[in-house]
């Protein structure tokens, strides 16, 4: 019963790990791929994962995806207003 109360969406098998990048990491990422933030895939502020992390528009979220072909890889999404 205690486990039930503390259930967050990140416990679900379908949800990968999400993490908000710091300002420096953001700069590094954009430099590494030579892109503008607007070129990143997006995630809405209303997304349950964004709300759980309390991320603001403009933040970049790092998603640790499990892949059947590569094992683990990282994907990035920028938080945008709904």
């Amino acid at each position: 019963m205690t486990a039930k109360k503390s259930f967050t969406i990140f416990d679900h098998v379908l949800v990968p790990e999400h993490r908000v990048l710091s300002e420096e990491e953001k700069g590094e990422l954009l430099k590494k791929y030579n892109i503008k933030p607007s070129q990143l895939p997006q995630i809405k502020t209303s997304d349950p994962a964004v709300q759980a992390l309390d991320a603001k528009p403009g933040d970049i979220i790092e998603i640790k995806r499990k892949s059947p072909t590569a094992g683990v890889y990282y994907y990035y999404r920028i938080v945008v207003e709904d």
Binding site: M1, K4, L14, K44, P48, S67, G71
Partner: protein, 395 residues
């Protein structure tokens, strides 16, 4: 003999650009074979180099038209699918859309699938006994007066609506006559309810009018007495050593809160519901899983990479978008590409109205114009390096 730690170090150093999965596999194999053939350090290094080279050769080249390859790789096996298949293997009682209609449903990102289904897994306590699983199923299963009734009659002479409850079904549902009466009384203030044994008589308090009574009767019939809204029949099925519940209809948000349910593994086949409750990344995973399962059901195998690309495109904007005129193709930057797809005139008119510009960056518009397509070798552009002027830092 080279030690394990040296092999590990070598793999880390030389094959750092390999994906994790491959690195692990390489490491394991190296350990195995270095033990078997007593490999020297130089030999191991050579093997790693060879593997890295092979890997780099297998990578997709810049400019490869991956989208077209994906479309063909999914499209071709789809022609072999049976047009309509219903019934899950094993859960014969529940209807499921499978095969090509299901694939179309996923790719079109329909708001409601034609046969929504939830797979409800149970927590540690309820997982192993069918009795306890049934307990949870009762909490989920939607029950109405209609589903419990043996017969229902509208008595116009006495202005009554008489429902005869099937005692067997009542027993199964875990409800009692008192509970039903209380439920209906609470929800329908304008009605007078009387129970006699297994019979429920519903009368109107004031207005003596047949049509109002009929309207009330219809509402009472469909009123949910227990369970989750949107969920109908449930079926319990044994999977390995545990029991799982399959439901007809889906209410993902509510079912996660039901006691006895394992919220970590419970799933629905409604992608939009997943996006709403668990977020866009979960929706992406769900799309992949659904397509792979549907293909597998038909005995077809498509490389996951293609399906992953489809799922990535569908979830690019943070919402689940269909592939087609209203989704991905409709948001293409190029006017000509959109016009070449569907509803040509409308797109051209709109573009003229807004004064849109087409920089001819994509494939379709260049085919249309009759230029080389920016794909493969066509993606290379000529650049000229100008003589660099010396920096004028010092004065």
């Amino acid at each position: 003999m080279v030690s394990q730690s040296t092999i590990k170090k070598l793999v880390e150093k030389k094959a750092s650009n390999l994906p994790e999965r491959l690195r692990e596999e390489l490491f394991e194999k190296l350990i195995h074979y270095s033990g078997k053939y007593k490999l020297k350090k130089a030999e191991i290094e050579a093997i790693i180099d060879e593997v890295v080279q092979e890997y780099e050769q297998a990578l997709v080249e810049p400019g490869e038209a991956v989208g077209t390859v994906t479309a063909q790789s999914i499209g071709e096996p789809s022609t072999q699918m049976t047009l309509n298949t219903f019934h899950y293997a094993g859960v014969a009682e529940i209807n499921v859309t499978l095969g090509l209609p299901r694939i179309i449903e996923i790719v079109d990102a329909r708001k409601n699938p034609s046969t929504p289904i939830m797979t409800v897994y149970l927590d540690e306590e309820h997982r192993y006994s069918s009795e306890k699983a049934r307990e949870v199923a009762k909490r989920i299963e939607g029950t109405t007066l209609e589903s419990l009734a043996r017969s229902m009659t509208l008595d116009i002479l006495n202005m009554e609506f008489v429902v005869d409850i099937d005692p067997e079904r009542l027993e199964k549902s875990g409800l009692t006559m008192e509970k039903i009466q209380a439920k209906i009384e609470r929800s329908f203030k304008s009605a007078e309810i009387e129970t006699e044994g297994t019979t429920i008589i519903i009368r109107l308090k004031k207005a003596k009018n047949v049509s109002t009574l009929r309207r009330l009767a219809d509402k009472v019939k469909k009123h949910r007495l227990k369970g989750l809204s949107g969920v109908g029949k449930t079926v319990i099925r044994k999977e390995g050593d545990e029991y799982a519940i399959y439901t007809e209809g889906s209410n993902f948000k509510q079912v996660l809160k039901v006691p006895g349910v394992d919220p970590r593994r419970t799933k629905t086949n409604n992608i939009h519901e997943i996006a709403q409750v668990l977020g866009i990344e979960a929706a992406r995973n769900a799309i992949i899983e659904e397509i792979v399962n549907t293909m597998q059901e038909q005995g077809l195998e498509v490389d996951v990479r293609h399906i992953m690309l489809v799922a990535d495109m569908m979830t690019l904007d943070g919402i689940v978008r269909p592939i087609g005129r209203h989704g991905i193709v409709g948001t293409k930057a190029s006017v000509l590409a959109r016009a070449a797809f569907e509803i040509t005139v409308q797109h051209l008119l709109q573009a003229a109205e807004r004064g849109e510009l087409d920089p001819l960056n994509g494939v379709v518009e260049n085919v249309l114009i009759g230029q080389p397509v920016p794909v493969g070798t066509g993606i290379v552009r000529l650049a000229m390096k100008l003589p660099i002027k010396k920096a004028v830092k010092e004065e």
